[in-house]
Amino acid sequence: MLEFDGLVKAYGGNRVLDGVGFAVAPGQVFGFCGANGAGKTTTMRIAMGLARADAGEVRWSGRPLDGTTRRRIGYMPEERGLYPKMRVGEQLTWFARLHGLDAAAAARAADVWTERLGLAERRGDRVEKLSLGNQQRVQLAAALVSEPDVLILDEPFSGLDPVGVDSLAEALLDQARRGVPVVFSSHQLDLVERLCDAVGILARGRIVASGTVGELRAHATGRQLRVVAPDAPAGWAAAVPGVRVVSEQRGDTVLELGPGADDQQVLTAALGTGRVTHFAWREPTLVELFRGAVTDTSAGVAA
């Protein structure tokens, strides 16, 4: 279990982190969301020992992280860090060796990861010659090449094309299947929604919402029902008890059902107007949840 516990960090008078805490189980993919400047990168840097927390600690298997355990973490910094003049293959081999692999195993791992991330043909090229997207892949390979016990990735998907996103996502899920806890931050919430077992939303220095996507949805206020009845007259649903019309446009109606409202009653009312071509619960996307959580001033939404 990778635990972030009560992290506090202030730069001058600016309290960037104000008690950030969450836990990632082995094999779990944890999506770390938050607005720009919310403190995601700072949290990860504290975990990697690159910044010192004013309070709180990060624990792995119940013990605070130190130099030895950090060497078993695969890390991908937000600002990419590679030697521009070093060749891809050599660079990966070298990073693997820094993490404690012997020369042969390191070379093998570098080969495997360049292959998996579609860089096999660029092994002999200098990193600076690669496109940004490919540099990104090398960066990821550098985090993965040592077969780490924990993965902490800061914005791993930014700048990748869809194919790259897919291969990276596949690689992350593979790692999770291996039992590695994976923490990554991203602004691509659809991806987070697709990949993550758990999500944490960071705002104003603390986790304002965390849990599985399902849990977050369950806690979201109000449920919406979309009904398409082409022949229905305007205002047809207003009579159904406990229902509020969110929008209505040429027979396409979005309704918000309050507590105790019956969806079957809505269906009956709709059928009463004529043909019904669409009747379904509309699940809030993570984007909507995110907006709700971030704009919500009350910090008590967290699950």
Binding site: R70, R80, L98
Partner: protein
Amino acid sequence: MSGPGRSLSSAQLVRLVAGREISTRIRDKGFLVGSAVLIVLVLGMLVFQIAVNSGSDDTEIGVVGVSTEVSTALRSQGDALGADVRVTGYADERAARAAVEDGDVDGALLDPAGDRPQLLVENDGGSVETLVQGALHELSVSRQLADAGVQLAGPPAVDVVALDPDADADLEAAVVALVGVVVLYGLLILFGQFVAQGVVEEKSSRVVELLLATMRPWHLLAGKIIGLGLLGLAQMLVIAAIGVAGALGFDVVDLPGRLVGTVVTVIAWFVLGYAFYASVFAAAASLVSRQEDLGSVITPVSLLLVVGFVVSVQAAQDPTGTLATATSFVLLRAGALAAGHAGAPGRGCGGLVGGGRRRRPHAGHDRGDRAGRRPGLLRRPAAHRREGEAARGPDRRARLTPSPVGGTWSRRRGPRGWTATWTSGCTSCRAPRTSAAATWAPCCATAGTWRAPWSSSCSASCRATTSRPGTSARCATTASRDRPGERVLPHHERSSRTDEGAGGPVWIRSPDPNRAPAYTWRRPVSGPR
């Protein structure tokens, strides 16, 4: 924690970082080009030295109706004047005239034995005139004395006391030290920059974030400095090897022992100077995070090096001066200064220089010996001093072994005066050279000290000043060798006398001008004190 990796020790991490520095830098085009330029510079310096020194100051004199007597007289006169004289015989005046006009000879002497000898020169007699005048004058005097029935005894040898026998050697030492300082300075600047660039590269590319997640900052710094340092050391060794080999191969330096000593010292100081400057450069570079800002922090450090360099150059010219002594305690210019010290004889760093003190013969000495029958007449003071020192240690001298390697001393006029060079093999008859460094002879009674064939003094603690190795040459053509106590014919007209120094036995030339030149062995005129 589980996983395939084992945890690395500090030494392993440092070694990994150092290995990366070496392997990336050694394939860097900039580095390769820079190294090549540096090597070319060193070679260029050698070639320059050769070009400056090889300006032949042989005086070529053509003689019509040449005789051994005349050419010997011309040569010994040349010896006295400090010029190597080469005599060419011509059949008649026309051939000689043509030779002068073509510049083959500096002057042509017509009818040397007659009453009105004539000297043909291109435009101005100059030194040739003086030389010929002197030679003919001497010939004439000895002939007249012989005609008058006067038997010439060997002239007395002059005892000379040397007050500063090292003065001449200091010059060359300073030159060698100066070259060392330049190379040292260049490499320190170069590798200091490498370290600074490496630090900034890691900061600007943010790779340092990845690295610091696996190691502590000092691992990174140590690995970087050690890796680049090893590379610098290797480069230094290559340059030193090329420089030394070139200097020995082209006979630029007269003192191989001291040259090697200085080079060793320079390398040793490179290690210390580099460790210091690399750390300073790295610390300076860590203050900025972009290559563009590097210049502003590097400049002060580089200036520090430049100041050290300038002071060292000053010090190299006067290694015993107050400046050198005072600043040698300041590490800031440690490396650069040390080379200056290494070159200076008898200074604190001497231990690193293999004790090489006063190995080089004095320029005038050689001449004095060749002109053995007329000591003191035209010798330079240095020659006197050398022989005087020999005279003061008769019991030591008795154990001296003459150099077993054949060869001759030759002189060249350099930009800063005369220098003498030992050439193995015979320069006159152009017999093939033997290896000059091949044989070392025991120098004195002090155990374990040896004298190099080219050496004129004991290299070790006893400081015995030996007589310089004789000019006896094992000539490939005649294989005759002079030995004291025998009367021998020289294998050729030149340089076949042995002189063990003033106060010791000397060879004198037969005074009879009508006989072929022969040399007899005489007891010294003045006994040792």
